[in-house]
Amino acid sequence: MPPDFLAQNLPLLLKGAGMTLRLAFLAFVIGLVLGTFVGLARLSPWRPLALLTTAYVEVLRGTPLMVQLLLIVFGIPQALGLQVDEFRAAVVAFGINSSAYVGEIVRAGIQSLDRGQMEAARSLGMSYAQAMRWVILPQALRRVIPPLVNEGVTLLKETSVVAMIALTDLTRSAQLVASRTYRPFPAYLTAAAIYFAMTFTFSRLAALVERRLRVE
């Protein structure tokens, strides 16, 4: 790859990567927080709540992310006559989508624990919430880290569909560079390298955190 190509186009690509990172990070935070509640709600002893969240998860997993994105960024605002910032709307769309997957991970993490843990906690007199908070969730946390990292990596890659709604993320920037220079190969190769650098760094960091937690 000629150095002048990089010198001329890297700044634009890195700027795009910045947007990708911000988008993925904010959406992941929303996904984690919302998803934890989704996972807990699916296991709720109160049936209506469990059924409602099951439906929420099924709908989000059973429809294309692209369609969800278009619906939230363009569809809903128009129907309600609202002006929305596209970046923020995209953050919300990815966050909601991710919450369904995080919810399933949290639910599976909790269910993978021995039923006796909940029973032991309850028979000491803990309420359901206390047992969750002090006994179940701390154990589930260790088990959900690897699948959550997966979800984070997937989310970061999937944000590339925002190129379709004209947000200049990394993928969109690569498209711009490709068409401006007529050299798609180095443009997309560089984009791929930057994506990989981001996902790889993230999963390495997470592995470090996980090892820390396991020592205890």
Binding site: L124, G125, V135
Partner: protein, 242 residues
């Protein structure tokens, strides 16, 4: 202390408990014996409502067992339960396990809970294991921590579901010794067990269950030497031979 009247439990079509009447007096040690699948665990789990009774009434210290909510939590706090497979909290040390009830349920301050927990660990002979995690303890040690954890709530009665069945034979004695101490101190205990020696020595009353009913009950010297029922005799001759 614990009164059970006309208790039935069905799991779908399976009729597991078919009308149990049982009254455990304060300070009494009741051992429940019987073949596998006869409903012993289910009976014990109905007493603190880990299983929902299908029919019948249960009274703890004269009051009906509440259906749920905070009232049930409070009753459970007064009934210690010890499980076959210990169920210690693996992310807490032995000390933290024992402290967990007083701190989380009663809101006791940590220093006081710590003193109480150390005392109880000493009582079960494990003061030097306070900082060990369950994974670092033998089965017998884990079960003793589990007993200490239950005692930390200062229960009015203790329920044991085959507390030594998951243990290697050489570790059974240390757990039974702790239970004997408790019995001697006057703790009300309901013990599901296959340890006939323990039942004979410690029980005030032995209950033989089969097929979801209490077939026979009486003092251990009667049940073990001259049972009235044929089913009791058949069961005892089987277990006492091995």
């Amino acid at each position: 202390m614990i009164r059970i009247e006309g208790l039935h439990k069905r799991f779908g079509k399976l009729h597991v408990l078919k009308g149990i009447d049982l009254h455990v007096r304060p300070g009494e040690v009741v051992c429940i014996i019987g073949p596998s699948g006869s409903g012993k665990s289910t009976l014990l789990r109905c007493i603190n409502r880990l299983e929902e009774p299908t029919e019948g009434r249960i009274y703890i210290a004269g009051r009906p067992l509440p259906p749920g909510g905070r009232e049930l939590d409070q009753v459970r706090a007064e009934l210690g339960m010890v499980f076959q497979r210990f169920h210690l909290f693996p992310h807490m040390t032995a000390l933290e396990n024992v402290m967990s009830g007083p701190v989380i349920v009663k809101g006791m301050d940590r220093a006081a809970a710590r003193r109480l927990a150390l005392e109880l660990l000493a009582k079960v002979g494990l003061q030097d294991k306070a900082d060990a995690y369950p994974a670092q303890l033998s089965g017998g040690q884990q079960q003793r921590v589990a007993i200490a954890r239950a005692l930390a709530m200062e229960p009015k009665a203790m329920l044991f579901d085959e507390p030594t069945s998951a243990l290697d034979p050489e570790l059974v004695g240390e757990v039974l010794a702790v239970m004997k101490d408790l019995a001697r101190e006057g703790m009300t205990m309901v013990v599901v067990t296959h340890e006939m020696g323990f039942a004979r020595e410690v029980a005030d009353r032995v209950i033989f269950m089969d097929g979801g009913v209490i077939v026979e009950e009486g003092p251990p010297e009667v049940i073990f030497t001259s049972p009235r029922e044929e089913r009791t005799r058949a069961f005892l001759s089987k277990v006492l031979r091995v």
